[in-house]
Structures are given as structure tokens and as C-alpha cells.
Amino acid sequence: MSKFQFPESIKSRPVYGTLEPRGDVAYLLVADAEGAEAIYDLATAGAHVARNAHIIYLPNETGDKYTGMLQALNPAQLYIGPSYEAALSRIQRVLSNARMGLQVCLSGTEGLMGKALIEVSAAGIPHSAVQFEHSGSVARRMQCVHCKGITENVSTDPFVCSHCGLNLFVRDHYSRRLAAFQGVCIDAEDPGNVPDPVELYS
């Protein structure tokens, strides 16, 4: 599996690593889509991980491509859900019961990792106990700085705000509180002059 290398950027932009097994403790693994591969690699690197793991997995557009692979790991608990929103109360419930030492591993898209991190932080899990691995789409979760609406899965720059309809350019400035990058009107100084959208990182 080839991993996307994000180019160096400004200091608010998160950077991600590679999931690594730690002690023989409980693991909460939250992943979407290709993030399943990171879980597979983790469980392969540490034989003790799967039997201690609660996996919350959202296949999204990958359908059942990876679900068999995760089942074969034989984790302590495996939940495969239709959407993040559907899984949210489960994630909160698991975190509310977290014991000291719980390791949290987030993998997949930036939007998924960012949203899950909000819950993990709210539950008071120390950030030293949280790991990240990006895999799959480089699409971003964007906040429109004008109307405050969030547009998920933005894969082009510029893009149209799904709430207010303004044409926004994609900044690297990132808010962990919102789990979103910032989108700013691109044609404010020259109304109507909107460049053709380009795929992010193309």
C-alpha cells in the first residue's frame, strides 16, 4: 500500500504517522474506508492488539472491500457502521467507559480522524495515548468562514460551499476544535472570476 506523503505545510496543519502497537492494553480503533488497511497492519505488527481491540469501522464508499479482512482479525469487538453520525453515540459511550491506559488509534480520512479526536479529547484521553494514520482519500472537511457551514469531503480547490453557495478556496489553516480546514471566498475582489476547480494535491 503506498501512502500519500503530504507536502510540508503551516503549523496548524496536522501531520499523521503510522499506527504502532503499544502495551498489552485495551485498544479503541476508529477507521473509515482505506483506514482498515492501517488497522490490519497494526494488528499484524502486534499480535496482542486484536484480542484487546474494539474496532469501529465505517466503510463508506469502499463497501465490503475491507470488512472480511477486519472480521478475520477476530477482534474483541467489531462494529461496522453506515456513517460517522450513526456511530457517534457508540464512540461516546465507549470513551465514557475508558480505563487508564486505553490506546486510541484513528485511521482513514482526515475528516474522520479529526471528528473522532474531538470526542477523544472531550473524554479527557491524553493526547500521548492517541495515534493517527492517514490512508485513502485526501479530501478535506471544510468550514466556510462566512456562513460557518461545514462541507464534508471537499476534493477540489476552489469548491462551492454546500450551505451558502459561495465559491471558496481551500486553506491549509486547520482548527482541531472544528476538525476542519478553512474555506474563504475566492472571488471577493473580482466577483465572478472563479478559476476552474483543481483536484487537491494534483
Binding site: K11, S12, R13, R176, C185, E189
Partner: protein
């Protein structure tokens, strides 16, 4: 000293104006003929009489109009004032700091009576006379930070200090140079400064943070920052950029003198006693180009600074497209004579403008 408060607006017809006094005391930010980012911090323990540095919180002729503009911005967008739950005590600290400072520095305008926790606050320019219980939120119409910041010129960031780091966990931000409190709240010092060019590589933010972490109660500090704004618009927020951005294209060689403003921020830093938070007031002063060049030294110098400013800074500050027109205008006020060091106008000693 008595101040006549201007009837003026910072939007629509832009009737904002500076008196002779306001021009002479303008915090001109350039102490030499060039500019680059630096850790430009000094103690904030007063300054020359009648200068903007004299008092802890300068009150000037724009006070009442600025507070009206702020109320309008907040009515349109309440997210300009936010405070994370653990920051309420810091809000009380800030309220106390401002009430004590203003009532001591401007007794003709502000009065604070304290009987234990029972306080009475009189703000004559705004017609406010409120009695409340210190540390009891239910006795004020707003949270303590919002209450006092609605009565004080300048934006306010209240920074929590933990893990050898500052966190922007509360603020009132309605006169900002194009950054969003709603987006930045909760960030740390390096994260909210992320968009600034060059300064990270120069090590400026590392050194600045070290300085700030060590600021003690009773020894506040200050620095200046600056940018450019077309029209005397206080609310140059990213939130409203899709509305005001177009105004940048309205400059012409004929109107630039009255329409292009130098925007200077007097930034101060105070340690707060109970919360150990740091408060960062950002006071915005605006001056039209035509008023700057009425001071010969400032006209000469502004031309040289803008001409030689690195492209990265002119771009970040948002005036790269208008720079050529600014230089055409300003060059008329630069006769090539040397300028004296320091920021003061030196009207009596600096030569008047020679034919260019």
C-alpha cells in the same frame, strides 16, 4: 483633559475622522526607513504625556463610535465573542483590571465603587451605571469578559497558560486584521500564528512565546503591528470578507489620500492575578494617507517602508495589488531627505517637504 467624542461611522458613509490631536498622537509604527518582523516588545509602563502609551487602556475621541460599531458587529454575529467554559475567572480578572485602570486613569469618565464584592460601575460616556456582585455572573447582563469588552476599545484575546504554552481560549474580536476568532479559538500560540510568513523560520515566535510566558503581574508589555485598510473599516473580518473585499478595488489616484488607511495595532500583554491567564488587548488605530503625509517625517518614511517591504509581507497584509498606486501617491511626499531615528513626528525639528 477632556475629550470630545466624535459622531462618526466605520461603515456605510465612513464618516470616521481624526482630529489634529489624534493625528499628532498617532502610534506611527516605523522607527526607521525599513520594516521587517522582529520580537519588538517593550515594557508597558506609561509613556510621554498625551501619547497613546500614557495610560494602560487609551481612551480617545473614537471611543463612543467604536463601541456602537462593536455592538452592531456583535448583533450581526455573536460568534465574535466566545469564551471556553474554563475561562470565566479570567473574564472577571479582566473586568477588574479594566475597571480599576480606567477609573484611575480617567476619573472624569469612569467611576468604580467597591464594597467587598458589591461593586458599582459608572461609565459616563456610554451612560452606564450598574451595580453587581463581583464573581457572580448572574448579576451582569453579559459574561464578565463580554460586559467589559463592550465598553473598551480594541479586541481582546484571553490566553490560558498551561504546559508551557498559551492557548487562545476566549476573546472579543470585532476590529481584527482579517483573522477569525471562531476558527482560531482553542489553538495554541504556534497554531494561530501559522499563516504568518517568514516569522516562524526567523525564530520570532519561539522567542516571543518565551517572553510572554514570563510576563508577571504588574509588569505589562507592549508592541506594535500594522497593516493597510481601504476605507476606515474596523471590521475587516474574514467572516465578512466577501462583502468588504471588493472595496480594495475602489482606490483611484484621485481618492487614495482619503481612502487608504494605515492600520496600526497597539498590542499589550497583562498577566491576570487569579486565573494566571494572559490578556492580549489589540487596539486598532486608523489614519488616512493624507493625514500621515501632513507630518513630513512620516510621509518620507512611509514611502520608503512600503517601497522596500518584502513581497511576502505585502501579500500577507493584503495590499500587494494596490502597492504601485500607494507608491505613486507617497512618492510625492518623499524628497529624499534623511529622517531622524524614532517614531515621533518631530514637527519642530524635521525639515518641511522640499519640492519633489
Amino acid at each position: 483633559m477632556s475629550i470630545q467624542f466624535n459622531k462618526e461611522t466605520f461603515r456605510d458613509d465612513y464618516s470616521f475622522h481624526n482630529s489634529e490631536r489624534a493625528i499628532k498622537r498617532f502610534p506611527f509604527p516605523f522607527h526607521e526607513d525599513s520594516y521587517m518582523y522582529a520580537v519588538n516588545m517593550e515594557q508597558h509602563q506609561g509613556g510621554p504625556k498625551d501619547s497613546v502609551y500614557e495610560m494602560r487602556f487609551d481612551v480617545d475621541e473614537h471611543y463612543v463610535a467604536e463601541m456602537q460599531d462593536r455592538a452592531q458587529v456583535l448583533a450581526d454575529d455573536p460568534l465574535r465573542c466566545q469564551s471556553l467554559p474554563h475561562m470565566t475567572l479570567a473574564g472577571w480578572d479582566l473586568l477588574e483590571l479594566i475597571m480599576v485602570s480606567k477609573s484611575e486613569d480617567y476619573p472624569e469618565f469612569f467611576e468604580l465603587q467597591r464594597d467587598g464584592l458589591y461593586w458599582r460601575w459608572i461609565n459616563k460616556p456610554l451612560g452606564i451605571d450598574d451595580s453587581f456582585t463581583f464573581l457572580d455572573e448572574s448579576t451582569l447582563p453579559y459574561g464578565p469578559m463580554e460586559y467589559i469588552c463592550r465598553q473598551t476599545q480594541g479586541d481582546f484575546c484571553v490566553l490560558d497558560q498551561r504546559d508551557e504554552m498559551l492557548w487562545m481560549d476566549a476573546g472579543m474580536v470585532t476590529t481584527q486584521a482579517d483573522w477569525s476568532l471562531d476558527f482560531d479559538i482553542g489553538m495554541n500560540f504556534f497554531e494561530w500564528h501559522a499563516p504568518v510568513p517568514l516569522a516562524h523560520e526567523m525564530g520570532i515566535f519561539k522567542r516571543a512565546l518565551k517572553f510572554l510566558l514570563n510576563i508577571q503581574q504588574g509588569t505589562p508589555a507592549r508592541r506594535l503591528n500594522w497593516t493597510m485598510t481601504v476605507n476606515p473599516l474596523l471590521d475587516t473580518s474574514p467572516e465578512n470578507y466577501h462583502k468588504w473585499g471588493i472595496q480594495k478595488t475602489s482606490l483611484t489616484p484621485e481618492n487614495i489620500g482619503g481612502k487608504q488607511f494605515l492600520r496600526v495595532e497597539l498590542q499589550t500583554f497583562f498577566r491576570l492575578p487569579r486565573s494566571n491567564a494572559l490578556v492580549f488587548p489589540i487596539r486598532c488605530y486608523l489614519i488616512a494617507f493624507e493625514d500621515i503625509v501632513s507630518v513630513p517625517k512620516w510621509g518620507r518614511r512611509l514611502h520608503r517602508v512600503i517601497r522596500d517591504l518584502p513581497v511576502e509581507l505585502a501579500t500577507y497584509k493584503g495590499f500587494i495589488d494596490n502597492r504601485p498606486m500607494m507608491l505613486d501617491y507617497l512618492s510625492e511626499y518623499d524628497d529624499g531627505l534623511p529622517t531622524s531615528p524614532g517614531v515621533w513626528p518631530e514637527l519642530d525639528t524635521e525639515p518641511s517637504l522640499q519640492a519633489v
